[in-house]
Amino acid sequence: MELILAISIGVLGGSGVWLLMRPRTFQLIIGLSLLSYAVNLFIFSMGRFPVGRPPILDPGTSGDPAVFADPLPQALVLTAIVIGFATTALFLVVMLASRGLTGGDHVDGRGPGR
């Protein structure tokens, strides 16, 4: 489980960083999306991996933290997903505006080749 998660964060993060360095806005936005998936998984992994444990206490019990999952990273991931989604949508709009104004999808507005 740890290995699979670590490898997937690594692959997503690595591909994201590589795409971030590319000169086309489309590659840029895909790179940012991949990176944000990697970061979301990373936040999730910071709550350790309690498999099959609920994050919510039963009513009336005080509960031992050891048998419950930590709900906070889950809440953080949820917030991060929502914010990341909104900013990506906003970025897409700017990308389209740039495409319309410059006629190309190079990040500097112009570049060698098409």
Partner: protein, 530 residues
């Protein structure tokens, strides 16, 4: 007034939300609502600063009345209140300035502006790392809209770079926050500060790595070299009211570094005490150097102001890195005066450039370099009596000169007081004339960088001023009272800070002292009871 602390966040949020669906063809209602909200923010901020200074202690506002460490807290201390005052004053001036022209350049200017103010206020008030992230995103999302306000190819191009860099920095922010949570199990800043000293040695490298990654996100915002190349083009392309409020946005990064480095890695932090100080000092000095070179090299007034933002950020970061109470106190005075002066400068530049041909600055510098020979001499003969400087130009010129004095740190204005306090703190932490002066290598480097950057600013501003004010008497820009009033107000505040140098210095020194002894902050937050 126990709910006073939430008002700087709630009022602009409500005002902005009401503005979006408003039926308002000519924009008068929106403008009136925006100005009213900005005026209210000034009043709240001044009241909070007054309370923080008189009360001395840290005051806490618990959202939803949840016990501390379970719920989210807002914390008002002297530093937070100072930043609130700066936000409110700069916001009000930029809004007033936008009334004549800029508010009509694009849709939803006023709503975006209110959300920007809300994000800034929230980032200064929050006592919780994840909430800091949320408010950062609020202010960034609003700033994306404001940076693009007015549209045009230059803005979209600069905006694209600005947004992508900030999205990447936000991801670093998240990684840092989650690593710190993974190690310590809390996100409340005061709780973090009380847990860090007791952290087992094997977890310390992980915490420090997390803090360093978090710091990268803040330093990108503060535009430390080499993370700050986005700043020049973005600020130069943004519309002047947006640029004026952006000048405070780079101070948010500085604020977060100042708050967190002294709270989490202050003298009580055990083995991690003083973490990152050397890096801040070195990076700050490099930023000062980069800013100084860019003010000297630029041919464009907006880029000149961008260079001043870089110098100001660098000075503050290096002063934080120096890690002495006296230097921090001086840095706070410098922070307030440079934020006001840069805001005024961005507004002023638009007035100066009005009615001039595009590329006139570039031409002026080229002429300076290669000489234009005979043409000028003939002109001088016909003008033996000299030209009368129009009143508008005189007011603009004096304002420009005041901005230059504050930014270069020359007497008699408040920039000098800040720089002098920093220099005296570096030369002798105990106070000048008491005990032998002790100066490390880093201290020397900072001293030289501070003096040289002031010199570079004077040179660059004098050249720009001569070219755009004296050599340009024939085309006088049309300037409305509503446009020059905010500039004069910001400069007037710098003058007031100079006139009331005693109380200002006492406030800033008290703020610096409480930052350097985080026990008071931690106790104030952790012992807050319903």
């Amino acid at each position: 007034m126990q709910h006073l602390a939430i008002l700087p966040i709630a009022v602009p949020l409500l005002a902005g939300a009401i503005m979006i669906p408003m039926e308002d063809q000519r924009g008068r209602l929106r403008a009136a609502l925006g100005i009213a909200s900005a005026l209210a923010l000034v009043a709240f901020a001044v009241m909070l600063a007054w309370q923080a200074h008189l009360g001395g202690a840290v005051s806490i506002y618990r959202l939803g009345n949840w016990p501390v460490t379970f719920g989210i807290v807002l914390v008002v201390d002297r530093l937070a209140a100072l930043m609130l005052v700066l936000t409110a004053v700069l916001g009000l001036s930029a809004l007033l300035f936008s009334l004549t022209r800029w508010q009509r350049m694009g849709p939803h200017f006023h709503a975006l502006f209110q959300f920007q103010l809300m994000g800034l206020n929230g980032a200064f008030l929050t006592g919780d790392l994840f909430n800091l992230f949320v408010f950062f995103e609020v202010l960034l999302a609003a700033s994306y809209g404001l940076a693009l306000h007015g549209s045009g190819i230059a803005r979209v191009k600069a905006g694209l770079h600005y947004i992508s860099i900030n999205l990447a920095a936000s991801l670093l922010f998240l990684i840092g926050v989650s690593m710190i949570y993974g190690v310590t199990g809390t996100l409340n800043m005061a709780d973090l500060a009380s847990r860090i000293p007791a952290l087992p040695a094997e977890n310390r490298p992980l915490l420090e790595a997390g803090a360093a990654i978090l710091g990268m996100a803040f330093l990108t915002k503060a535009a430390m070299w080499p993370l700050g190349f986005w700043l020049g083009p973005t600020y130069a392309a943004a519309s002047p009211p947006a640029a004026a409020i952006f000048s405070l946005m780079s101070k948010v990064g500085v604020y977060a570094i100042l708050r967190l480095s002294l709270l989490l890695f202050g003298e009580d932090a055990g083995a991690s005490a003083g973490f990152g100080g050397t890096w801040l000092l070195a990076g700050g000095i490099m930023t000062i150097g980069f800013g100084a070179v860019s003010v000297l090299a630029t041919q464009d007034l907006s880029r000149l102001a961008g260079g001043c933002v870089l110098i100001s950020s660098g000075t503050l970061l290096a002063a934080i890195g120096a890690g002495q109470v006296a230097v921090t106190g001086g840095a706070l005075i410098y922070l307030a005066s440079s934020a006001l002066a840069i805001g005024a400068l961005f507004l002023l530049i638009e007035l100066l450039e009005r009615g001039r041909e595009v590329g006139a600055d570039v031409l002026a510098v080229t002429l300076e370099a290669f000489g234009d020979g005979e043409g000028e001499e003939e002109e001088e003969e016909t003008n033996e009596v000299g030209t009368v400087i129009p009143a508008t130009m005189a007011v603009l010129g004096i304002s420009f000169m005041c901005c230059a004095l504050v930014l270069a740190g020359l007497p008699p204005l408040s920039g000098f007081i800040g720089k002098f306090a920093m220099l005296s703190g570096i030369l002798n932490p105990v106070g000048l004339g008491e005990g032998p002066p002790s100066l490390s290598l880093g201290g020397w480097a900072l001293l030289v960088a501070l003096v040289l950057s002031g010199f570079a600013t004077v040179l660059a501003m004098a050249r720009a001023g001569i070219r755009s004010l004296w050599a340009n008497t024939r085309s006088v820009p049309l300037v409305g009272v509503v446009e020059i009033a905010p500039v004069l107000m910001l400069i007037g505040l710098c003058v007031a800070m100079t006139a009331a140098a005693g109380p200002t210095t006492r406030y800033m020194q008290a703020a610096a002292e409480s930052l350097h002894t985080p026990r008071e902050y931690v106790r104030g937050v952790m012992e807050a009871r319903p």
